[in-house]
Structure formats: structure tokens, C-alpha cells
């Protein structure tokens, strides 16, 4: 494609039109064009994990995905986890455990955990720790995050 174009992305089961050039990231279109502000722009370098979304079910950094490379793929953001007004089991577990402090890292953390639980529904503590290893929480509340995920995986 040449420079800026309009194209469709499939986000949380809906087709959404965006306009972007070949350098525009998925994170930019989510936040600036679609009002999906759950994914956060922390470092914009792929370090912090606050922008994580699911691409075809796998956790990825939306700041390191060119928006136009996500055409024809399934994108899920934190906004898409709720079903019929009910939080997803993972979201509910984070709430019940009190794992959320300032909240900035939480969308990315919940999505990393969601990808893990789908791939490995009985993930143990080591697997949980590995899955969220790329999600920085500067409140340093990792223990309760692991506890929350354990509620879902039964570890």
C-alpha cells in the first residue's frame, strides 16, 4: 500500500475502519481513532507490556505491530473481554483478589494472563510468572497478580 489509506480491522469481533500509513502502530489506531484506551502507551518500545493486545489469540505488543499488518487477523483488547455486561473470569479474579493498584499495567497484565489460560488452562505458578514476565507493574504488585491468575487456572 502507498502511504496513508483507509482499511478495516477486526477488533473484538467487530469490523472497524481506520486510516493509517505504513508506520502507524496498532496502539496508535486503537487509542487515537477507535477510542479503545485500555491499551496504554507506556514505553512505546516493547519493554513494559502495558499495550499488550491479543493477535489471533496470542499476546503481542500493540506498539510493535504496524496497524496495516493486522489486516485479516483477530484483534482482542481489554474492552472485548466482557461478555453481556459480565467481566471475564480473569477480570473478575483480578478484582476479587485486589490485584489492581494504580491500574496502568492491568489491561496488558489481564490479556497476558488470558492468553496463558486459554493455551494452558491449568497453568502452574512458574508458567504464570513466565507469562506475565513481560508486564511491568511499578506498584510492584506481582504477588496478587499471580494469586489472581491462580484462581482461574487452579494452581
Amino acid at each position: 500500500m502507498t502511504s496513508t489509506q483507509a482499511f478495516d480491522l477486526k477488533i473484538n469481533g467487530e469490523v472497524r475502519q481506520v486510516r493509517a500509513d505504513g508506520a502507524t502502530t496498532l496502539l496508535e489506531v486503537l487509542r487515537q481513532q477507535l477510542g479503545l484506551n485500555g491499551a496504554k502507551c507506556g514505553c512505546n518500545q516493547g519493554i513494559c507490556g502495558a499495550c499488550n493486545v491479543l493477535l489471533d489469540g496470542k499476546a503481542v505488543r500493540s506498539c510493535l505491530v504496524i496497524a496495516a499488518m493486522a489486516i485479516d487477523r483477530e484483534i482482542e483488547t481489554i474492552e472485548g473481554l466482557e461478555q453481556d455486561g459480565e467481566l471475564s473470569p480473569m477480570q473478575q479474579a483480578f478484582l476479587d483478589t485486589g490485584a489492581v493498584q494504580c491500574g496502568f499495567c492491568m489491561p496488558g497484565m489481564v490479556l497476558s494472563a488470558t492468553a496463558l489460560a486459554r493455551e494452558n488452562p491449568k497453568a502452574g505458578v512458574e508458567e504464570i510468572r513466565d507469562a506475565i514476565s513481560g508486564n511491568l507493574c511499578r506498584c510492584s504488585g506481582y504477588v496478587k497478580v499471580v494469586d489472581a491468575v491462580r484462581r482461574v487456572t487452579g494452581a
Binding site: M1, D21, G22, A23, T25, G46, L64, V65, D130, G134
Partner: protein
């Protein structure tokens, strides 16, 4: 206005697009390139995505036991491959400790190798594996040995307009083993130092051959043939290993940076080498 994005479906088309616009950059998994673009360290007028070129993906075992890894194969696929056994395990082990899960989903071996960062995990592992790189360009195809590929910090033998097509690992005999030992401050960080080893034991459990490459310890992976030869035919007693490790460490030129002072790294490297070769030998015996 804005940056163009091309999505060729063949290698030939990708090479042609690059030769028509030398300032365009190949986009592999993007886990380094897009971060550099976000930081405005590079501002290419166009990207040539390699994502749709199916010839560049996958891990295939050749009839002779060699392994061919397409340049666009992700770290996650390499990390979970059951084809990388014996000496080839060094590559799977390196892939498993690259950054974090979300980075490994999209990051590719071809992108990482072409970037030429000696602090990354594949370069030392590929040198220890005696890998060859298949490269294509407007002039055709050529192969480059891993040891000749990495020239300096972020500098490789890859010429402008050339594209890395595949990484080829030579056959790994039975009783060979490979191991990648990474020392980093926290999981997912670049290595403070790393050591990649492959070796083959003979019938008497002595070293038939051994290759040791040190990463994150200079502008390119460090290999010292004399130290490797000193271990040949030995059963790798502690004294012989320590001497070879010191010899290898003396050839390293580690950086002074946030991941460790060069003095600290000089103390670390021989210990890490000794640990890595000892683990690799026990893997070969298992």
C-alpha cells in the same frame, strides 16, 4: 504522505522492491525495527514486509539431518520446536530466553540475525552451532558461515539489497549436545554475558569436538579455536575446563554498561564458560 508499506508474496518481489528503493527497509517481526521507528532512530520512507512470503517460514529437517530455519520463523516457534535436538538444542534454548512471551510471538530469527546485535541471543548460539546463512540479492544466492557473518556492532556481511532467507544448521550426530547459558540481571533482559556450546562425545565419552561461543562480550561472538582444541580428546576435567575458560575470557572485550562493568564481566565470563561446557557434557552423556 506517510510511510509506504509493501507486502510482497515472493522473495524475488521483495528483493526487486528493495533494489528499486534502497532507503526502504525490510520489515520482519518488527520487534526491534518498530521500536527504533517509535524512538525516531530510523525513519524509512517505506517498509517491505516479509510476512506474506510463505517460503521464509518454518523449520525443516533435511534428509542428511541438517536443519533449515526460514528467516521469518518466530522465536516462539523455534522455542517450541521438537526438531531441535542434540547439538541443535542450543538454538531452541537461545530462543526460549529472548525477551518476553509477547516479543517471542512476533520476533523472528531472520530479523534478529540481520540486526547484528552481539548482545542478542542468537548470534553466539548460531556461531556455536556452526550455522550457515542463505542470503538472496539481485545478484542471486550465496551462503555465509555464521562466523563470517557478524562483523561488528550492528554490522553484518549482509549487503544492501540482500535478504536473509534461511539459517542452516549442519547435521547433529547422536551423542552431540548443545546448550545456551545466559546470565542476565532479570528474566527477559539482554545478557550480561552468555555462552553457547555444542560438542560431540566419542565412544569413550571424551570430547570429539567442541565449539564455544561467548555472547554480549564484544563486537561479535567470541570463539577461541585454540581453547577448543585444548579440550579435544579430554574428559573435561575441572582444571582443563578452567584453563580453556580463562583463555576464552582473555579474548573477550566486554562493554562497561548498565548490565555490568567490563571488570565484572571479565570475572563472570570464565565461570559462565565452565558452567556451560559442564552442563553441555552432561546433556551429551544423558
Amino acid at each position: 504522505m506517510g510511510v509506504s508499506l509493501h507486502k510482497p508474496e515472493t522473495i524475488e518481489e521483495a528483493v526487486r522492491l528493495k533494489s528499486e528503493d534502497s532507503e526502504a527497509l525490510f520489515l520482519a517481526g518488527g520487534q526491534t525495527l518498530i521500536a527504533m521507528m517509535n524512538a525516531e532512530l530510523v525513519e524509512p520512507p517505506a517498509l517491505i514486509s516479509l510476512d506474506r512470503i510463505s517460503d521464509l517460514k518454518g523449520i525443516d529437517r533435511q534428509p542428511d539431518g541438517a536443519i533449515r530455519i526460514g528467516a521469518m520463523t518466530s522465536h516462539a516457534d523455534i522455542a517450541s520446536s521438537d526438531q531441535l535436538i542434540d547439538a541443535h538444542a542450543v538454538i531452541g534454548e537461545a530462543a526460549r530466553v529472548i525477551a518476553h512471551p509477547a516479543i517471542r510471538t512476533l520476533g523472528t530469527i531472520g530479523g534478529a540475525v540481520s540486526h547484528g546485535d552481539p548482545n542478542a541471543d542468537y548470534p553466539a548460539a548460531l556461531v556455536a552451532a556452526d550455522a550457515r546463512f542463505e542470503v538472496v540479492g539481485p545478484g542471486g544466492r550465496r551462503e555465509i558461515a555464521a562466523a563470517d557473518f557478524f562483523l561488528d556492532y550492528m554490522t553484518t556481511e549482509l549487503q544492501e539489497n540482500e535478504l536473509l532467507k534461511a539459517v542452516i544448521l549442519p547435521p547433529a550426530p547422536d551423542r552431540s549436545a548443545g546448550h545456551y547459558e545466559k546470565f542476565s540481571r532479570v528474566d527477559g533482559d539482554f545478557a550480561t554475558a552468555s555462552v553457547a556450546v555444542t560438542l560431540l562425545l566419542d565412544g569413550a565419552s571424551k570430547i570429539d569436538w567442541i565449539r564455544i561461543a561467548v555472547g554480549a562480550s564484544g563486537p561479535t561472538p567470541v570463539r577461541v579455536p585454540a581453547a577448543e582444541q585444548s579440550l579435544q580428546g579430554s574428559d573435561m576435567g575441572a582444571a582443563a575446563v578452567a584453563e580453556a575458560a580463562e583463555q576464552i575470557a582473555a579474548a573477550c572485550d566486554p562493554l562497561d554498561d548498565v548490565r555490568g562493568s567490563s571488570d565484572y564481566r571479565r570475572l563472570l565470563i570464565p565461570r559462565l564458560v565452565a558452567k556451560a561446557v559442564t552442563i553441555t557434557k552432561s546433556l551429551a552423556e544423558a
